[in-house]
């Protein structure tokens, strides 16, 4: 247990320090949202209608971009080999690393959501709904994306290939995240049904992600 908490603390500290680059994700998120009015026009009514979709897409892309650092930096300095050989199960270590990554790179996106909601003319309820669905949904993005990060580090390929592999897997999260926020804003459905499915998706990815990532690390590293 102490090994895992030490791993989490180390990863967060590295991510927040100079050269860590976790907060670049927030900057990217902000930039994507700022780009949107230039593409669809500065129509506030339209922007507030598209708002949840824009925020979700931005968060999806931002969490994807920061993911290839998840194992790559550790692979470069050799600490990934130590983690693989240590006595803590690799699945748990992967889960701890993903949790640390989510705390350092995913949580800031949710904190930034209210500010970005202002830019998109979302009211209080809508912003709260989007932030809540992001809070429930971004762990699923991190944990499924971790599979792609594991593959990327064993293949020495990151970037585009990983995005192509991971994005189709994140379609369910996107569907239910946007559906839950729309349900809270305009109805007519209840907020509960899509939101609980979103939570279920997060929990499933919490189980599947570490096992798949650990399998690809164990079979792929040499």
């Amino acid at each position: 247990m102490t090994a895992l908490s030490a791993l989490i603390r180390r990863d967060i500290r590295i991510a927040l320090r100079v050269g860590g680059g976790a907060l670049i994700g927030v900057l990217f998120f902000l930039t994507v949202v700022v780009l949107m009015p230039f593409a669809v026009g500065p129509d506030l009514a339209l922007l507030s209608r598209l708002g949840p979709a824009i925020l979700w897409l931005g968060a999806l892309l931002a969490s994807l971009l920061t993911l290839d650092r998840l194992f790559m930096a550790d692979h470069e300095d050799g600490s990934l080999d130590l983690i693989t050989m240590s006595r803590t199960p690799l699945e748990l270590a992967c889960a701890a690393k993903a949790l640390a990554h989510w705390l350092a790179a995913g949580l800031p996106l949710i904190v930034a959501t209210p500010v970005l909601g202002l830019l998109l003319n979302l009211d209080m309820v809508a912003t709260g709904a989007v932030a809540l669905t992001l809070l429930a949904g971004t762990p699923a993005l991190t944990f499924t994306g971790m599979i792609g990060a594991g593959l990327a580090v064993t293949l020495h390929r990151g970037g585009l290939l990983m995005a192509v592999l991971v994005l189709p897997l994140s379609i369910p999260v996107l569907i239910f995240g946007v559906a839950a926020s729309q349900a809270a804003i305009v109805g007519p459905m209840t907020f509960g049904a899509p939101f609980s499915i979103l939570c279920a998706l997060s929990l499933v990815s919490l189980v599947v992600g570490p096992f798949a990532a650990a399998a690809s690390l164990r079979h792929g590293l040499d």
Binding site: L155, V164, L169, I171, P172, A179, I197
Partner: protein, 261 residues
Amino acid sequence: MSLIDLANPTRFLALTARVLPWLAGATVILLAIGLYQSALAPDDYQQGATVKIMFIHVPNAWLSMFVWGVMSIASLGTLVWRHPLADVAAKAAAPIGASFTFLALLTGSLWGRPMWGTYWEWDARLTSVLILFLMYLGLMALWRAVDDPSRAARAAAVLTLVGAINLPIIKFSVDWWNTLHQPASVMRMGGSTLDKSFLIPLLLMAIAFTLLFVTLHLAAMRNEILRRRVRSLQMMQASRVAFSSEVGTGSRQENASTGAA
């Protein structure tokens, strides 16, 4: 002959060389019968002659999912049993599965044009098949991105199995999404139960297409094995050339040419 006996690629090549002509013949005969039967099938009272697209479309759609199942079993073979031919099977199946999926999409949209009045409708089935097609393409990109086949095989196996878990989830969520945004003018397939005159040609075509897949898959596996042999022979030759040019420092050119001969 059990699965373990096939682990020897030479034995596999010998067996498939004997089996393949029979399989190909059976495929051609069944396809001919199936096509003849589906040409004879009556027109639908609502859809007219366009209903005959179904006899091509449904087998393709069925195989698009069946091939992913075959690849998942092959991936288990790679990761769990380390069967030497499992990754060959998985690699050979991916382009075939992608082709079947593409044909299912193509025939579906050609069918949709007279029925729905548009080539593409964000219908639940079309959308989830499109996502399946994207995943096939991603898998093929993964195979192509890495030059070492065994390393690519393990990565592709993990991804295939994750995809096998995810595909039902994606299917379910696309269904949900589609009921949220139900377009007004989509005409559904009228009958819930198929008439016998449609069912028999459809089953024949499904069997014929499955046989077609088995034939193509075995042939592609043979090609892949031969391709790997060629590759390893080339690597051996290249290392021999490099080695001999290292030893004979004087006449590098000559040594290289003798090594190649």
